[in-house]
Symmetry: C2
Subunit: 662 residues, 2 copies
């Protein structure tokens, strides 16, 4: 730096740099300790598939303990059952009965939502909870059919086969899809690919679930209005046109009854939301509604045929359904596709809700293990007349509030469902469909989460667009396309971020050796003669063209602004945020360097990370662009040392040829 | 830090921190100056679509100059033609004639490769170069048909229609695809979406072009062996089985002639490669081969019917082909798909080669403008009997070596082709196919770039896998699937990198205030009581689960290793590399903070970037996790200030409840 051009700030900086140069011995920037490709691959594999290091607990244990730990790892029930006490059982029996009172009406309703006879909803509330109690690691999850999976199951299967005109085939495909869902879920867990469900972001889920709530509620207009001829389609346009083209079928008795119970259920829900202590009001309301409405219908039986009732239901436990699994080519693709989508959605719901309550009660839920548990539960379910089950949002919350301590509450619930299946089925004969519709609407209305949507809007506009895409995609196109569109958009955003990484110009924070974004920190000041850029993304094939153009534009703008006789001599690239580089990325530095050389500008790199420096070194056969004297650990060090070069060789100006520093 | 536990290193650090605390006034970490969402959107849009800021040159110019600049911007010929001189023309006429001598035999050969009659190769070497000379900004590019695009055009179109049994329809579809390729190319340029071609990375191109070279060469076995019944398929398996099941058709006369000319051409190529001064040897060899072989065949005409010749060719310039464009639904999808793939490949070749030579001669080629030029050239070409043209790798190199100074050399070449079309077509009657095959093999053999493949292997193993995928995909499946697989794999890798970002533990570099990766810098030392982690990726929905698990594992391992009575009190997250965060990312910090609170560990953030701090602040309504006293500009500052808290409140230990610092 020429003494004539130094301002007071520069003097300060100079002093600071001086100090850096004299006092502190910075280590050279070198490649990290050598590791073979195989070692690196192993580390990467471990980080990709076993970030939680599940084998850690086995380390250094005697063989016997290892066996016990392994058994407990596979069957979590072995962890808690030996210590189980009467006190715990008291809590579990209360919560178990509470969720049973919710599961029975919801089970019947969701079977309806899935296009299946009501008894299958109860079957699905009996076997899967037992399996989960043995294999699952959550203490709060309440297992059974859920609204979203039931709806998606029906909406996807009806693309290939009608639930009303081919009920037997539809049932077979429902079991087959459940089998594939289970196999897919367990496979994700075993292969430790659970991160796939991470691609359903919070924003997608908020939009998706609101959309599902809308179409599920619209579907209930069939029951709530008493329409008999209803569209098989799901989109808002189809359903509304079906509703209004069938006005002559509307039944006022049904509408009155539906409106009455719907208001009652919604009031109970609001009350419990306001006073969480009275959670049992909303938990008990559906069962109470079923009992009351059934009693009313039984009393007026035969007099109001306009109000449709469930009718005769078979008694007894789940019939085996292995032989109903359907593997013929005509519908196999559909069953697999449905299984995968239903499987992903059921995992998303289960794991999200499991993690939420585990966090509240401060225990851990292992995502991959949960996937295996839920997967096996659905595999076994598909052979015992159950359709896709999961950990339900709403019932898990009730289970937790009712004081569930262990998975025993699921067993209690199973027993209650078993009693219903064995002895109480005839009582459901006069249960009206309209009440089931009201129960479903009440259950899904909580899916519409306006505050969450507002929060997303506030924090991130793009996420909000993703949310809207999921919402409108679901209600106007279809459940799976809405989901796919939103996921696609999220991935596109990530790719776009990578294609157009941020590069920011850094300046010195006066009085420190720190260099930060000039546009963020107003007090940061430029150092004359230096252009300090920070690249904030991995450098790869997708962004080298952009990075090159953008960097050259920074440099040209810098040159233009420097038309007086001040000198612009160094470009410093701060690389701390460049987490990775590929073969194309390496070429960026070669091209950048040769472009800068023609302008007599030197390129210095600051703090390249281990992997980056390793690859640059490997690529740099002729030692032409990775010279130790142009690699620095911090921007402060780089500015200090390069300034001293400038000072010590004042004869070297831009016009003269000079020895190649790098 | 307890005095009893301080080692000499710690003392050093302590002094260092002391100094940090006393001397230096670090500014607080605050949100960046406010910008509205619209402003931010505008900036992002500009960075995404106009990173090169093409309007910069117009700034502050008078209106007249603006008009001139705009005209020059649209028609680059206006930039160089007014200054054109006889001296330049001397250079251009030599290079123009040189590339014409290569273009004429290659044009005929590539038409064959595209499944079209030979004359269309010459048509395509006449009109497109003229259009490019007006619109293009490269001074070196030699325009005309190229091996890859010709092959892909045929291989894709034969999926729907046969080149031999329906030649007329095939020709129509070739023009239609060329039209769509041009429209797609121009659209990419106009919409400034040129970055799409960046997704074809160097690794993909090396593998893809080697694969294409293999299948193109295999295709030439038909001509080189004189087989008349040859498979229409492209994969290595199909072609080899076709070759060996037709041994009875092999013609020894053809084989001898083919081998002779092939060896000659390859020798010429090797010679020119070794002595670039004699570039004209390999540039002239194809034309010489055509002339010699035609003369031989003319001399022995009628005597050796085993050697197949081109036959009669129509004389005259390009017939118009507007009416041949085919828009009927049956093949429209195929034509569009082919157009897009051919368009992308042709852009990739053109722009890569254009940029390479522009860099050598130090002028600039604007990617988006080039796309418009090449797109319009193909649109016009499709109406004048030309199939997809591009800037060819090999001919551009010859053009450059022959001393081309401006696009005038393309005009000279066009004129030479015109002369051929008007007067010399009858001479080509006796040109044997076998020589054209030898010319094609010689041209594509340079596509196999072993040193580049070795370099990729050395730098990045995953890129090498991508390369192999492209190579084997092309030779065993198909050109477009090979390409799609490789691109898919590249994108998957980026997604995987984002799903599993690196987190590294930092330590202090003794004698400095810098904190760097402990595994990279051996001299770096841990600070007792602190866990300092650096997160090296944007935080979003795809990686929050992993980041949470991984961070908690670091913390647990830390706790386990600290079983003695030393205290572990602070987790410092270095955020310099977190370039972005979404709504899900925000929740990571909330969850991490509550997980740490139960362990009585405090969380401090270091250097969150502008966008990150803005979103965290917005999300943090209750001011619960973004407290200014736990935000720092550098790790050194954080360690210094937090240590002083520890020292000043020695009574606060892990066992006691304490006021919530953050």
């Amino acid at each position: 730096m020429e003494p004539s051009s130094s301002s007071s700030i520069n003097n300060n900086n100079n002093n600071c740099m001086e100090e850096v140069r004299m006092d502190v011995q910075y280590p050279p920037v070198v490649a990290p300790p050598h590791k073979s490709s195989l070692q690196k691959f192993k580390v990467k594999l471990k980080e990709t598939l076993f970030p939680d290091d599940p084998m850690r607990q086995f380390k250094g244990q005697p063989f016997g303990t290892k066996i016990v730990l392994a058994a407990q790892y596979v069957f979590p029930i072995l962890q808690w059952l030996p210590q189980y006490s009467l006190k715990l059982f008291k809590s579990d029996i209360i919560s178990g009965i509470t969720i049973a009172s919710l599961s029975i009406p919801q089970g019947i309703s969701y079977a309806k939502l899935a296009g299946l006879p009501p008894s299958f909803g109860l079957y699905s509330s009996f076997v899967p909870p037992l399996v989960y109690a043995v294999l699952g690691s959550s203490k709060d999850l309440a297992i059974g059919p859920a609204a979203i999976t039931s709806l998606v199951l029906r909406s996807m299967l009806t693309q290939g086969v009608s639930a009303t005109s081919q009920p037997q085939l539809f049932l077979q495909l429902a079991f087959t899809s459940t089998l594939f869902a289970g196999v897919f879920q367990a496979a994700l867990g075993i292969l430790r690919l659970g991160f796939i469900i991470d691609f359903l972001s919070k924003a997608i889920l908020v939009g998706f679930m609101a959309g599902v709530a809308v179409i599920v509620s619209l579907q209930q207009l069939k029951s709530l209005l008493g329409i008999t001829h209803f569209t098989k389609k799901m989109t808002i346009v189809d359903v509304l046109s079906s509703v209004f083209s069938n006005i002559h079928e509307w039944s006022w008795q049904t509408i009155v009854m539906g409106a009455g119970f719907l208001i009652l259920l919604l009031l109970a829900r609001q009350f419990s939301l306001k006073k969480p202590k009275y959670f049992w009001v909303s938990a008990g309301a559906p069962l109470l509604s079923v009992i009351t409405s059934t009693a009313i219908l039984f009393a007026i039986r035969g007099k109001h045929p306009a109000i449709l009732v469930i009718g005769k239901l078979p008694e007894g436990v789940n019939p085996p359904s292995v032989k109903m699994l359907y593997f013929e080519a005509t519908h196999l693709g559909l069953a697999i596709k449905t299984g995968i989508i239903v499987g992903i959605l059921s995992l998303t719901e289960s794991i999200a809700v499991g993690r939420t309550f585990a966090a509240i009660r401060k225990y851990k839920v292992d995502g991959n293990k949960e996937m295996i548990a839920i997967g096996l539960m659905n595999v076994i379910g598909s052979t015992t007349s159950c359709f896709a089950s999961t950990g339900s949002f709403s019932r898990t919350a009730v289970n937790h509030n009712a004081g569930a301590k262990t998975a025993m509450s699921n067993i209690v619930m199973s027993v209650a469902v078993l009693v219903t299946l064995l002895f109480l089925m005839p009582l459901l004969h006069y249960t009206p469909h309209v009440v089931l519709g009201a129960i479903i609407v009440t259950a899904v209305i909580g899916f519409v989460d306006i505050p969450a949507a507002y929060r997303i809007w506030k924090i991130d506009k793009f996420d909000f667009v993703v949310m809207l895409t999921a919402f409108f995609g679901v209600i106007f196109i279809s459940v799976e396309y809405g989901l796919a569109l939103a996921v696609g958009l999220s991935i596109l955003r990530i790719l776009l971020q990578i294609t157009r990484p941020k590069t920011v110009m850094l300046g010195n924070i006066p009085g420190t050796r720190l260099y930060r974004d000039l546009h963020h920190y107003n007090q940061a000041t430029r150092i004359p003669g230096f252009l300090i850029l920070s690249i904030e993304a991995p450098i790869n094939f997708a962004n080298i063209t952009y990075l090159q153009q953008r960097t050259l534009r920074w440099i040209e703008e810098e040159e233009e602004s420097m038309k007086d006789n001040s000198v612009f001599r160094f470009v410093i690239l701060e690389m701390s945020a460049v987490s990775n580089i590929d073969t194309s990325g390496v070429s960026l530095f070669q091209e950048l360097k040769s472009a800068l050389e023609t302008k007599h500008i030197k390129l210095a790199l600051v703090n390249p990370l281990a992997e980056v420096i390793e690859k640059l070194t490997k690529a740099d056969e002729s030692d032409s662009f990775i010279r130790e004297d142009y690699l620095f650990l911090s921007v402060g060090e780089a500015v200090g040392k390069l300034s001293s070069i400038m000072e010590n060789s004042p004869s070297v100006t831009m016009q003269q040829e000079q020895p190649p520093y790098m």
